[in-house]
Amino acid sequence: MKKEKQNSDTQQTSLPVPSSQGMTIVVKTVSSWLKVLIFLFGIYIILSGDLGPGGGFAGGVILALSYVLLMLAFGREFAEKNLPRTLAARLYYCGALTFAIIAILGIPFGGAFLSNFLIGKFGEPLTILGGGTLPLSNIAIAFNVGASLYLVILSLSVCCKGKECKFE
C-alpha cells in the first residue's frame, strides 16, 4: 500500500504539463525538423501573393504557426527565449509602419494612394521581381500578422489552472 502511494505521488500525469516541460523526445525531434518546413512554406505563400492564392495574411498566419508548434513541443519558455516578446513587438509595428510608408510613397511617385509605382521596373510583369510594390507590402503584412498572432498565443498560454495569469 505504501509503495503504491509513493508511486502515484511521483508519477507523471498523462495530461500535458504546462509551459516548462514540453513533450517526449520523439515529439521534440520530429517537430524540430518540421518547424523549418512550415516556416519555408509560409515564406512561399507570402512571396507568391500576386501570382496565385496566398499573400500576406495567410502567409503570416502560417509563420506564426511554426512558432506555435515550437511552443507546444518544447514548452513556452523555450519559445520565448527563441523569439522574445520585445523583438516580436518590434516586428509587429515595423511591419505596419513599412506598409504605411509604401502606401504613402505612392502619392508623389504614382499619383494616387497605394499606387503600384514599381511595376515592370525590375522584370517582366506577373513575375516575382516585376510585381512592384505588391511583394513588398505582402512581406510587411506578413510581419504584422505573424508577430501579432504569435504574441496572442504566447499571452494566452501563460494562464494555467490554479495560478494567476502573469508573466514571471
Partner: protein, 122 residues
C-alpha cells in the same frame, strides 16, 4: 437554394448562442455565425463552371496590356474573396478577445456555467 443552406448554418450558430449554458459553447456559436456570413459572401461572387481568378503569363497580352476575353467571361469574381480574407482575420482577433474574457471569468468564478455567474466579483 445554396443561400438557404448558408442561412441554416447561421441559424444553427444563433441557436448555440442563445440556448446553450456553457460559455465556451456560446463563443463557438458566435464563431459559426461569423463563418456562415463569410461563406455567403464568397458564394455571391461565384459563377458555375468558372475558373480561379488567377492571371497567367499566357493570358496577358504584352503589346496592348489586355487580358484575354475568354478568361474574363469565365472567371469567378475575386473581390468578395479578398474582402472575406480580411474578415476572417478580423474574426480571429475577436475570437482571441472572447477566449481571454472566458479565461478571466473562469479565474474569478470557477465555473463556465452562465446561470451561476450572477453577481459582480472584484
Amino acid at each position: 437554394m445554396l443561400y438557404a443552406l448558408c442561412f441554416l448554418l447561421f441559424v444553427i450558430g444563433l441557436y448555440c448562442t442563445v440556448v446553450k449554458k456553457n460559455l465556451v459553447k456560446i463563443v463557438l456559436g458566435i464563431v459559426i455565425m461569423e463563418y456562415s456570413v463569410d461563406l455567403f459572401l464568397i458564394m455571391l461572387g461565384y459563377r458555375f463552371g468558372g475558373v480561379a481568378p488567377v492571371v497567367d503569363r499566357t493570358m496577358f497580352d504584352q503589346q496592348t496590356g489586355k487580358i484575354a476575353a475568354g478568361f474574363l467571361n469565365s472567371s469567378v469574381d475575386p473581390l468578395p474573396q479578398a474582402l472575406v480574407l480580411t474578415s476572417i482575420v478580423v474574426g480571429l482577433g475577436s475570437l482571441a478577445l472572447m477566449i481571454s474574457l472566458c479565461i478571466r471569468i473562469y479565474a474569478k468564478y470557477g465555473t463556465f456555467d452562465v446561470t451561476q455567474i450572477r453577481r459582480l466579483k472584484g
